[in-house]
Amino acid sequence: MFFFSQFNQLIIMNKNIDTKKIIISNPLKLDCGKEINNFPIAYETYGELNSEKSNAILVFHALTGDQYVSGKNPITNKDGWWSYVVGENKPIDTNKFFVICANVIGGCMGSYGPSTINESTSEQIGTDFPIITINDMVNAQYELIKYLEIEKLFAVVGGSMGGMQVLQFVANFPDIAKLAIPIACTSSHSAQNIAFNELGRQAIMADSKWENGFYSNYKLNPDKGLAVARMAAHITYLSEKGLQEKFGRKLQDRDSLRYGFEADFQIESYLRYQGSVFVDRFDANSYLYITRAMDYFDLSKQYKGNLSDAFKKTKTKFFVISFTSDWLYPTSENREIVIALNSIGADVGFVEIESDKGHDSFLLDVPSFLKTLGDYINSTYKIINERRI
């Protein structure tokens, strides 16, 4: 039996990453019943907080994202995951806004997660890490906002699991954000999405190097399982049309079929590559914990089956966005959020953006999405500031 009091004074040695990090000393009661305290939250900020503290935007990342929204990610040396949206002269312009993003708890980029080292054993926590939920994630991030001494956020924004956090954040803290933009998400994880997540988890747990989650004790990594999980998930982020147009039946570095199980097709090679680069930057246990948190997400259930009640106390303005080819978080599920908000007379805008790029559209260069999002944020910022004057 593992007692959480044991790692109250844990030391952070997470891959020697030089990340911004705070230790949350307030105890946080998790949905699973356990309590954590003195745990780290790693975060990054972009732009400057203005003197009125009125230009802060909290961005929530998706399943495999991290705090490195924009610029160069120091771990991967690649562009931040939302470089199309956040940065200088981007839709969320860091010349104007102060952007904050934290690594979720359960993650593997410096925040408290299964790869955090337990001081008393000097080993990673592994699957002794408690089950966490979307609710736990936003409650932890609220502590960061308090630490930064920001009373009001101009906006909370996020796509996919980031969108779920947007919804949960507004439900939990109804008078903090003036604007909420949930993108390509849902208020309740569907059977299909739970099924895909379970497929990924089973791939990881079927890897003999998983060792019930204590692979680091044996200097092992269930990288094959994690790569398969990523490959399967990656397909769900694209669209059939997008895949067909990009890859079709094109062959990889060969003129004819080899009659074997090598990657004959470009799509195979592409997926193998996606799997192999993912295992270098992501922890298999984090993948288990975060997908579980997504599966457990059911905001309407938290409010006894009435999603509208989640937003009854808030005056936050909402802007919900979905994409035509997103079959993972389809427009119908995004619309349910809009309907729940309309039924209580909340201030909500909604558009379904035309795109062939599937669920991943929110991360990619989709001009009408980037333009609408940017214009909306800037106009709304102007309107809200004018009203104040």
């Binding site: 309309n342 909604f350 558009v351 909306y376």
Partner: protein, 198 residues
């Protein structure tokens, strides 16, 4: 356009809650926001137009009035506006009923098919009318259910819909419509504006 906006604006009370159904690029919303009330929402079926509205910071939802008005609670708006769109619906009667549920009062404006210029085209040219107000040809028009001022007036009395105010517009000339001048206004106006309640 400007005259219609002014008339609609004059029908609306200050700081009331307004929904503009078929709000297009949000010109009327913007006009009312500057002149009458900040609390205004829009519903629009065209993605491109919805994006234009959102870009201006307007609160607009992509949706179809025939199916998506249901999500708003009863009497949740002081005024619901339907500007020159009624004729484009598959089922205008259903839409009017939905509007009357959602709004305490409803403003409907109607491009008048009874206007003499429209009538003359059919009478003398023998072709479907194409005017400044009705610019489409018969084969590409979005207008499925054209009606006249008189048609809408009669519709309201048949369906027991209360007409608070009915205004006729010709160019920029504004006049009231009543039972005794109905035939004349139906001939001499290009637009009818009705303030109704169930």
């Amino acid at each position: 356009m400007k005259e219609e906006f002014n008339i609609i604006s004059n029908l609306i009370g200050e700081n009331t809650r307004v929904l503009d159904v078929g709000c297009g690029n949000g010109d009327l919303m913007k006009f009312l926001q500057e002149n009458k009330t900040k609390d205004i929402r829009g519903l629009e079926i065209s993605k491109e137009k919805v994006q234009n509205c959102l870009s201006k910071g307007l609160t607009v939802i992509e949706g179809n009035a025939e199916s998506d008005l249901k999500q708003f609670p009863k009497s949740s708006f002081d005024y619901v506006i339907l500007s020159q769109t009624l004729q484009a619906f598959l089922n205008p009667e259903l839409v009017i009923n939905e509007l009357l549920k959602v709004g305490k009062k409803v403003i409907v404006t109607i491009p008048n098919f009874g206007y003499w210029r429209v009538r003359l085209q059919l009478l003398f040219k023998g072709t479907m009318p194409v005017t400044e107000n009705l610019p489409h040809e018969w084969y590409n028009t979005p207008n499925l259910h054209m009606c006249t001022i008189k048609d809408f007036y009669n519709f309201c009395s048949t369906k027991n819909i209360k007409i608070y105010k009915s205004i006729a517009l010709k160019k920029s000339r504004i006049s009231e419509i009543n039972k005794s001048n109905l035939n004349y206004k139906n001939l001499d106006s290009h637009l009818g504006i009705f303030l109704i309640e169930s």
